[in-house]
């Protein structure tokens, strides 16, 4: 299994949609074959269409507000006394997280395909919130599928969705979290694919959804590359790019421009949700060596039992609380280009506390997992090492959880 240079990772799959011959694919019911094929053709066309690209760039700039800033965290760096810690503050994007890139592109594709209805899944509520924003912006009717447990724990984002005029469909099956929301959203699409466009909220699902999402979030690393060159004159020699991984859209977006670099120069570190310290449950299929399985139309490392039933997962972070992971991250793991680890709920909470204490930054529980790893490794590293954390979400949505766990207001 080998990575190719000079070709975006999202395009390094075979004719059946598999990366590395075994990750991804399109394990879908017959009914979805046609809509998936239509979407695949449309995307292939649009991504070469100058007009469409201009439109994308226009909305990225004027609606999403790119580029998001790239800042040094001086206080945290001084406190830890090792590597320099920097943050790419993607949470500055309109809506407060990277999910806006994928949502905007999907809304544009939906428009281009002449569909008036758009549906999507959400865990942390960001994918749902952003899709509801984009739908409103582009005049689409929007339905969001969300696990009942997540509706309770991510209320601020639900309020935003409703305000934007989206309908939230609560999902009561299974663990009532993201995995069930995605299943229910796919079921809805099976029944309504003739007039409805589906957006998958991360780089997961059937091959085409991995590609569209990765293509959208890749904007993050394009910006970072420019910002690195302007801050350091050239790409520095020792960089570590640390990102949380749920489905993996934020991490892929953060890394895509840097995958071709030697890993000795730019190390890619993905941090999954380790769950509560005392619990056996987690949402870390890559770093805790899960076996390959098929979920939501794609093969990936997957938290499952030996019969192939999907395991319950547990994480304080609704956005990372998912048993599967993007096939492109499985590919990056097996080719050893990226390294994956996990942080527990407690690690993430502690990291959140430390970052907010030292910096004027308020990372949500998802990127707090990435900060946990940065905080862990920084003291051991040289001062010329540049750690960059993707602070991809804002903690406003975690208000209730943080209050409960930290007594914070």
């Amino acid at each position: 299994m080998k990575l190719k240079r000079g070709i975006p990772l999202i395009d390094q799959h075979d004719q059946h949609g598999f990366w590395g011959g075994k990750f991804g694919g399109s394990f879908i019911p017959e009914t979805l074959k046609k809509p998936v094929e239509d979407l695949t053709n449309e995307f292939k066309k649009l991504r070469k269409d100058k007009k469409f690209l201009n439109k994308r760039d226009f909305y990225f700039k004027n609606y999403i507000g790119t580029p998001t800033s790239f800042v040094k965290l001086d206080n945290l760096t001084n406190h830890l006394g090792g590597a320099q810690i920097w943050a790419k503050v993607v949470s500055e994007a309109n809506g407060g997280a990277h999910k806006i890139y994928n949502a905007t592109v999907h809304a544009l594709i939906c428009k281009a395909m002449g569909k008036k209805y758009i549906v999507g899944d959400t865990g942390a509520g960001y994918a749902g919130k952003m899709l509801s924003m984009a739908a409103k912006k582009f005049g689409l009717k929007c339905k969001i599928f969300m696990g009942a447990k997540d509706i309770k724990r991510q209320k601020p984002n639900c309020d935003a969705m409703k305000k934007n005029g989206a309908e939230i469909v609560p999902v009561y099956s299974g663990s009532q979290t993201l995995v069930d929301a995605v299943s229910e959203c796919m079921r809805y699409w099976v029944s309504n694919c003739d007039n409805t466009h589906m957006c998958v909220g991360s780089t997961v699902g059937p091959n085409i959804f991995v590609k569209i999402c990765g293509w959208s979030t890749a904007q993050i690393s394009r910006e970072l590359k420019v910002q690195l060159k302007s801050k350091f004159k050239k790409i520095p020699n020792k960089i570590k790019l640390i990102n949380c991984v749920g489905g993996g859209s934020s991490a892929y977006g953060f890394w895509s421009e840097f995958i071709d670099y030697d890993k000795k120069q730019i190390e890619l570190i993905g941090v999954e949700a380790g769950g509560p310290k005392k619990s056996k449950l987690h949402a870390a299929p890559l770093s805790r060596n899960a076996k390959i399985g098929i979920l939501h139309g794609a093969a990936s490392y997957l938290c499952q039992n030996n019969e192939g039933q999907i395991n319950d997962t547990e994480s304080i972070s609704a956005g990372l609380d998912y048993p599967g992971v993007s096939p492109i991250h499985c590919f990056l793991k097996d080719t050893k280009r990226a390294r994956y680890t996990y942080a527990t709920d407690e690690d993430a909470l502690n990291a959140h506390v430390m970052v907010t204490k030292y910096e004027n930054l308020n990372p949500s529980l998802e990127p707090s997992h990435a900060f946990a790893e940065a905080i862990k490794i920084a003291p051991k590293l040289s001062k010329d090492t540049i750690i960059i954390v993707n602070s991809c979400g804002d903690a406003k949505k975690d208000r209730d959880i943080l209050k409960e766990r930290l007594g914070k207001k």
């Binding site: 394990f27 079921r187 039933q309």
Partner: protein, 266 residues
């Protein structure tokens, strides 16, 4: 191909009616009960589909999900599914049984091992919901090698060219999904429209048995009786749920429903 599945269709045809296919979930609500149900309804059903339940069934509606979750909760394992199938075939030697489910379970069990086991317990056919054409080609030929019918699905969204290819690669039976829906949806397309599309599929190769499924209940079954076969699943699963709720014997209640379904297409 001389298969029990083909025979079942011919038999129904000789009686001038469509074949009746039932779908129940293995282990719903217990291993023992689901075997009893299967044996009892097979007096009226021509072909029995038996689902191996998955806890993330992306193409199933509420009724079948409920059955699947119930069976898993009661501890059903793949090997139990095979033993139910084996027991069934021991007493109903000529009644075809088709296993139906999602690919991950086959993948985890190991494809070859799974298919050997199918052959061994005399499973007649296999439907894999999320393994569409053409990705299923290799798998389908592995089935054929073992004398197991691989049943392709066709849907209203299947294009003409694709339909031709699927039929060409199909074995004895094709499954036409009546409408854009998960299982258990209300029939939202007119029977006339469904039969028109069905006729188009049938015309491509008359020797293939084409069944229609999704949205078929006691109310709707009669209107589609021109088909080679009709599949009823959610209506049966719902009856099991109702029986449990009312503390009645699901075996009797489900058998009665199947009997009534059969009477409607005679």
């Amino acid at each position: 191909m001389a298969s029990l599945i083909n025979e079942a269709f011919q038999n129904a045809k000789s009686e001038n009616r469509p074949a009746l296919l039932t779908y129940t979930v293995a282990g719903d609500n217990t291993k023992k009960k689901s075997l009893e149900i299967l044996k009892s309804i097979s007096d009226y059903a021509d072909i029995c589909e038996l689902g191996f339940p998955h806890n993330t069934p992306i193409a199933d509606g509420g009724q079948i999900q409920t059955s699947a979750y119930r069976a898993i909760k009661n501890g059903i394992k793949i090997n139990d599914v095979f033993s139910i199938a084996r027991d069934f075939k021991k007493s109903k030697k000529t009644k075809p049984i088709i296993l139906m489910g999602y690919y991950n379970m086959i993948f985890q069990y190991n494809e070859n091992k799974f298919l050997d086991k199918c052959k061994n317990v005399k499973v007649d056919g296999l439907i894999v919901v999320d393994l569409p054409y053409p990705e299923n080609k290799k798998f389908a030929s592995k089935c054929k090698k073992r004398g197991v019918n691989f049943i392709q699905l066709v849907s209203p969204t299947t294009s003409e060219i694709r339909l031709k290819k699927i039929i060409k690669d199909s074995h004895d039976m094709l499954y036409y999904i009546s409408m854009l829906s998960t299982t258990g949806g209300k029939l939202k397309v007119s029977p006339k429209k469904i039969l028109k599309r069905y006729g188009k599929i049938k015309n491509q190769n008359k020797s293939k048995n084409v069944v229609i499924g999704f949205g078929i209940t006691e109310k709707t079954i009669k209107s589609l009786k021109k088909a080679d076969g009709l599949v009823v699943g959610s209506a049966i699963c719902k009856e099991i749920s109702n029986s449990i709720k009312k503390r009645q014997n699901p075996v009797t209640n489900v058998t009665n429903i199947v009997k009534r379904l059969k009477n409607k297409i005679k």
